[in-house]
């Protein structure tokens, strides 16, 4: 190799390093979007978004963050929260834990000095890895409908909020629904259920509590793992076919869901006896399976649809003006998008609650945390928000960072989801001691002294 060529290569390497090093130093080079351009620096409320739009879970990430961003755009179009506009910056995680941590560190402080409200990684793995960091940095970590179950106990996890539905409530609600279908929860005795779960922290989170519930109701449960990402499930479904259960609970995520439905069809297991959990409940989970998905049941906290007044407002003020975040506008009003909107509503409401106490200005993460803990969304507030039926009434406290714990069931008719049940409540008093015991063990391992929730 000639010297000139090697020198040019070297220059290229040097150039790479030069690009990289300033990046390390000025961590928030990523464009801060939203109100940042039109507002004085530091005067907006900032959200770091650890989003994911590529990889096997892209459908979930792009829908969720699309809905979240569109809702924030709506708030900005309406003049912000009591005059405080919202801003945000994005970083791609690909649902990968290391990238998620890098994104957390890159984005946790805004480029213009606006205070950070909360992080919403929408990934159990990333949430686990940033839990300590969030607590140390005093930034609330929002894990809506997922996350670490024992973080429901706010006395041990002051900065973590598994809003609406933690994984245990999810399973308990499904058992209650299966009980209703059987004609009473006591009729479950002797029945067989298979849980097909995603081989990840998220997928395994409920294995322990499923055993507890199974023992309580006298159900035989078989748990079968599908390794990430789950695009091959032939052997798992043959096993299911052999054991021939009454119900299959599908605890899937991303590409695993349509593959499960298709494979079930192939081995001859009926779709209307498969119940998808909260991350197996979107159009993107059912539609790709085509006919095989017809009759598939799943739970939801946030029905799809565009008829909710709040979605109509987003359509008028954001989508129709060409500012929508979705690259495919047809996904407006789908399950993931609506979850993003719900997440936006809850974050903004928490800031509203906190502003009522601390003043109408951009708030620190610590102050927003107080807002989340004192969140109280009742029927009247839901009506004012235009989100009746989209969000469940929610009341949080120091000891309860979940709040709701209810789900509705929906069924796929081949083209869309139809809601087939009213709100089904989880057996939260039954779950609470398990959650507290787990939180206590965590506190012991980490040397945390729990807060006294009776005092606040």
């Amino acid at each position: 190799m000639s010297k000139t060529r090697s020198r040019s290569l070297l220059i290229l390497t040097a150039a790479t390093a030069l690009v990289a090093l300033p990046g390390c130093q000025k961590k928030a080079e990523t464009q801060q979007q939203g109100a940042a351009a039109s507002t004085a620096p530091g005067k907006s409320q900032y959200f770091p978004l650890q989003s994911y739009r590529v990889g096997p879970y892209a459908a979930g990430g792009s829908g969720f963050f699309g809905g979240f961003i569109d809702y924030m755009q709506l708030i900005n179009a309406q003049g912000g929260i009591n005059g405080v506009p919202l801003s945000w910056a994005e970083c791609e995680t690909e649902y990968d834990v290391e990238k998620g941590v890098e994104c957390y560190e890159r984005l946790k402080k805004s480029a213009d000095g606006s205070p950070t409200a909360a992080t919403n990684p929408l990934s159990v793995g990333i949430a686990y890895a940033t839990l300590d960091r969030s607590t140390a940095d005093k930034i609330p970590l929002i894990t809506i409908n997922h996350g670490r179950t024992d973080s429901t106990d706010g006395s041990v996890f002051p900065y973590v909020f598994p809003l609406q539905l933690n994984p245990y409530s999810e399973v308990s609600a499904i058992f209650n629904y299966i009980g209703t279908r059987a004609g009473g929860i006591d009729k479950l005795r002797g029945k067989r259920i298979v849980v097909l779960y995603h081989g990840s922290p998220y997928g395994k989170e409920t294995n322990g509590v499923i055993d507890t519930l199974a023992a309580k109701y006298g159900v035989t449960v078989e748990k079968i793992e599908v390794p990430h990402p789950g695009n091959e499930q032939q052997s798992q479904w043959l096993k299911i076919k052999q054991s021939n259960p009454e119900w299959v609970i599908l605890r899937g995520w991303g590409v695993m869901n349509p593959v499960a439905l298709k494979t079930a069809r192939k081995v001859g297991f009926p779709a209307d006896h498969i119940i998808g959990n909260i991350w197996s409940n979107s159009e993107e989970d059912a539609a790709p399976a085509g006919d095989a998905a017809k009759g598939f049941i799943s739970i939801t906290t946030h029905p799809s649809g565009t008829s909710f007044p709040i979605l109509q407002r987003i359509k008028a003020d954001v989508i129709d003006k060409g500012k929508g975040n979705l690259s495919d506008p047809k996904r407006f009003g789908t399950v993931y998008y609506n979850l993003g909107v719900v997440n936006g509503i809850l974050n903004v409401e928490a800031i509203r609650v906190a502003q009522a106490k601390f003043g109408k200005r951009p708030l620190t993460g610590e102050e927003v945390r107080w807002g989340f803990e004192n969140l109280d969304i009742d029927a009247a507030r839901l009506k004012a928000l235009g989100a009746v039926g989209l969000v469940q009434p929610l009341k949080l406290s120091c000891s309860d960072h979940e709040g709701g714990g209810a789900v509705r069931f929906q069924q796929w008719d081949g083209a869309k989801w139809n809601v087939i049940s009213d709100w089904v409540q989880a057996d939260r008093p039954l779950l609470r001691p398990i959650i507290e015991a787990s939180a206590k063990q965590y506190a012991r391992e980490k040397g945390i002294t729990p807060r006294d929730c009776s005092k606040s």
Partner: protein, 352 residues
């Protein structure tokens, strides 16, 4: 015939210059970041680069110096991480530092175990046997709750980082801890490579029959390489869990991680110590640089998903470009640049 043939040892004509650069680099690594560092620099850049370098060094000893191919690096990292966790949790009196070392020793024991096939098979067949380790270890770790202390989701959470009573639980503290361990182990590995043991590895790599003919036992040499390599990988895995992420799950040590370590040594340079650091820096920094550059240049106009996919394409293309342009890795590139530079200096001196 008692002595080894000379070319096996790579003797550099100018040993003073690299030594000078190495010492400058160590001093810089120890002091510079603390002067200019931010949380981001420490916990998102420097710590993962250092740990990947150590893992690369581990694999490089096995592959680059002893010539044994392996795709099981992440499995040994997983063993190190989980062994460290369980020793620290269950055995009283084991501080974190002691647990990390013990975790490395356990990883070394498993390295010898999974290295046994190397006594009979070579090349692609050996890859298949290390691949078995790669699939078996994460499976076993997630199958039995004992390894994760019965945690519901199978994720272990790191205890607070302390050293002799001092808390190092800040980004800078974690960096210092990682740097100290990586520096000491790199120094030890370097001395080992330049000792008769290292020369025996290279002899086996270049031609094991010839090595046997001059009195080196290929079996023992290979297994020793597996042990040392797995020890370093195990320590890297423990650091990955305890000083970098703070949590770890078996799936975090999947085949992708093994490939990542393999890319580190291929891009950095096989049979080189410096190459591991260059390769690790390259593989960590390039995607971040691309993402920052992409966001800054075309961020507002382009669809974010399209931008992400374009970055992946560019990343892949750049790796192929570097490999084609310099198959011996970044270390050779740097070597040549340094030599050119010193020859310039030499010339200007001779003119005076």
């Amino acid at each position: 015939m008692a002595t080894l043939p000379q070319p096996l040892v790579s003797t550099h004509p100018r040993t003073a210059l690299p030594a000078l650069i190495a010492s400058v680099a160590i001093v810089a690594a120890a002091f510079l970041p603390f002067a200019i560092g931010s949380d981001y620099l420490f916990s998102a850049i420097l710590v993962p680069v250092l740990i990947l370098s150590l893992a690369g060094l581990g694999l490089n000893i096995l592959t680059g110096y002893a010539g044994q191919l392996s795709l099981g690096s992440a499995a040994f990292m997983a063993i190190g991480a989980f062994a460290t966790y369980n020793i620290n949790l269950r055995l009283p009196g084991f501080s974190l530092l002691l647990s990390i070392i013990a975790g490395g020793v356990i990883a070394a024991a498993f390295g010898v175990l999974f290295g046994l096939p190397s006594l009979r098979v070579k090349g692609f067949y050996l890859i298949a046997s290390t691949l078995a380790a790669q699939f078996f270890v994460p499976w076993a770790l997630s199958q039995y709750g004992w390894f994760t202390n019965g945690d519901a989701s199978g994720v272990i959470s790191a205890p607070p980082l302390t050293l002799a009573g001092y808390s190092l639980d800040s980004p800078a503290g974690r960096y210092a801890y990682t740097l100290a361990i990586v520096a000491v182990l790199t120094l030890l590995a370097r001395n080992l490579i330049h000792s008769p043991t290292g020369r025996a590895w290279m002899a086996v790599r270049d031609m094991d029959l010839a090595a046997a003919a001059i009195g080196i036992s290929p079996g023992r040499t290979k297994l020793l390489a597996f042990a040392v390599s797995s020890f370093l990988l195990g320590v890297a895995g423990a650091l990955w869990a305890f000083t970098y992420l703070g949590t770890v799950e078996p799936a975090g040590f999947d085949l992708d991680r093994s490939f990542q370590v393999l890319f580190v040594i291929i891009i950095g340079g096989l049979g080189s110590i410096r190459g591991n650091f260059l390769g690790a820096a390259f593989i960590t920094l390039l995607p971040i640089a691309l993402s920052l550059a992409g966001a800054a240049i075309v961020g507002p106009v382009l669809d974010p998903a399209l931008l992400e996919n374009a970055q992946k394409v560019i990343f892949g293309a750049l790796i192929i470009f570097f490999l084609v342009a310099e198959p011996d890795g970044l270390t050779r590139l740097l070597d040549r640049a340094l030599r050119t530079r010193s020859s310039w200096i030499g010339r200007s001196k001779s003119r005076q």
